[in-house]
Amino acid sequence: MLSSAVRFDRRALWTINAVPRTSVYGESLKQFSGVEYRRWDPNRSKLGAGLMRTNREKSLLLPEEGSTILYLGAGHGTSISHLYDHLCGQGNEFGGRLVAVDLASRCLRDLTHLAKTRPGLVPILGDARKHSAWGVLLPRRVNWLFQDVAQSGQVEIFISACKRFLNLDGIALLSLKAASERWTGEGEEALFNSVAEKLSISGFEIEECIELTGYEDNHVLFVTRRIE
């Protein structure tokens, strides 16, 4: 067990289903000693893929149960649904708060549907870069932040979001899509190195850099800690 809700069981991740008997994106449901779990598909979720691939303690990638977290680029809610299982539990019994921001109304359609049965999930239709438009919903800084916005300038968005919303010593995960950045002609390796350098200059300690190739091609998941 990685936490009270996340289970790592022979090559697969499972989370306790916060809304029993429903599958969010077609994942399989399974009972472990009478409790229903949902399978966390690493092919559909970059956070799931990162958890499968990491060489460090897996729980380093997960937020503290019952805390408030910020998720930028929420997408259709695949990762969000599992994070919710971990962070909030059934009917938000742990008292967590998951603030999920996405720009696309199509994605929000799925997220608001999720939020209907999941108190503590706060979907926001907004631009991840326009902090002042939705920043009032986060009165205090968070200890865990995830960003997955496939657009150019991902790193700058990440840095400015962390400066504003992340506590010192907080963990921030950046899923970087190589194809969204300007092609410098030096290959992906060079691109990822330059990003790592940019992050260290901006006051982040890189805990791990996880290649997601195989689950999600041309993606790297940076696990960083804000140190200044």
């Binding site: 109304s105 939020a115 926001i124 239709l125 002042s132 438009a133 009032v136 919903l137 009165p139």
Partner: protein
């Protein structure tokens, strides 16, 4: 001195982080009022409390919660109860935003246009299958021009003999079995039904495009106007594109091939569909498409910013311009003069 504010409170803070004055709002039981406040902040507006404090401290600079300039201080953050209220307001706001997407003509136009493209390709495949199929049994039948009514004719015929009478060809030596004929007849029926559906789809596109893009529709025809709008990912984005991009919109493959290999650039993308270009001789199509693209770009700007739509007068002027290009270049430029 600054005025810190969020959706439920405001406070005056000095450079040392001391709170000089504050004002709290306790109306968060009113769901709609909370939504209104969140919307106001999202648009960069000031809340009532912030304005009240601004009157008391006119020198203070109002900044929304989280602005980096603000000093660290004990701000009056929302209580747990207030936080729950604002969370449900945020959900309602998200729902509202999602619902508004249905009113977005750009998104509706995209579905309509893509649906009509898919319908057209299905219809054409079915129609050509029908022609081949009937031609197998009635080798003498010729449907050069009038293929469109074939589906209906086949669908209404009771038997292959009746069909051969209708098409005025000799009776077939071997015919299909009863069940086989029924399948063929139903295929004809569906072809005719698809034809009707396609027409209705295009009418829907015309109706929406003429409303959403009046000037561009007048100039290029509603279907082409809709296609440009969809290819540009929306009316506002189309309006912001330079005319040169509008000209080659839809010819991306040729355009990037040009950038990559230095092959000649494409002269036209989707706008080639316009008769002014497609019915003009080859050597002036580039010139005309430049003119039309420039005008289309203006039309798109008028539509996007909802200005006075163009009328027939503007169109006539444009036609004169195109005509003058045609007259100026009656024959292709000789290779030697180049």
């Amino acid at each position: 001195m600054w005025i810190w504010y969020d959706w439920q409170a405001a406070a005056v803070v000095d450079t040392d982080g001391a709170i000089l004055d504050d004002d709290k709002w306790d109306g968060f039981y009113d769901h709609r009022a909370v939504i209104e406040r969140l919307e106001c902040i999202a648009q960069g507006g000031l809340t009532l409390e912030a304005r009240t404090l601004l009157e008391r401290f006119p020198d203070a600079k109002p900044l929304v919660h989280g602005e980096p300039e603000l000093p660290e201080a004990e701000y009056p953050f929302p209580s747990e109860e207030a936080q729950l209220a604002v969370d449900s307001a945020a959900l309602a706001l998200a729902n509202k935003g999602v619902a508004q997407a249905a009113g977005d003509p750009d998104k509706r136009l995209e579905h309509l246009l893509r649906a009509s493209d898919e319908m057209r390709s299905t219809y054409l495949t079915m129609e050509s299958r029908l022609v081949e199929w009937v031609g197998l049994f009635l080798p003498e039948a010729r449907f050069g021009r009038d293929r469109t009514s074939l589906g209906k004719t086949v669908g209404q015929a009771e038997s292959l003999e009746e069909l051969s009478d209708k098409l005025e060809v000799s009776k077939p030596p071997v015919g299909p079995s009863k069940t086989e004929w029924n399948v063929l007849r139903e295929w004809g029926e569906s072809t005719a039904v698809f034809r009707g559906k396609l027409d209705r789809l295009e009418n829907a596109i015309r109706e929406l495009a003429e409303n959403h893009l009046p000037s561009l529709s007048l100039m290029l025809g509603p279907i082409l106007a809709a296609r440009l709008c969809v290819e540009a990912h929306g009316r506002m984005r189309l309006a912001r594109l330079p005319a040169g991009t509008v000209q080659v919109l839809g010819a991306e493959k040729a355009f990037f091939n040009h950038l990559k290999t230095g092959a000649p650039p494409p002269k036209h993308g989707h706008i080639f569909m316009h008769p002014w270009i497609s019915r003009s001789p080859k050597w002036i199509r580039g010139k005309i498409s430049r003119t039309i693209a420039a005008k289309a770009s203006i039309a798109a700007k008028i539509d996007a910013f909802e200005g006075e739509p163009w009328t027939q007068i503007n169109l006539d002027l444009m036609e004169q311009k195109v005509e003058s290009i045609r007259n100026a270049h009656p024959s292709p430029q000789s290779r030697r003069a180049r």
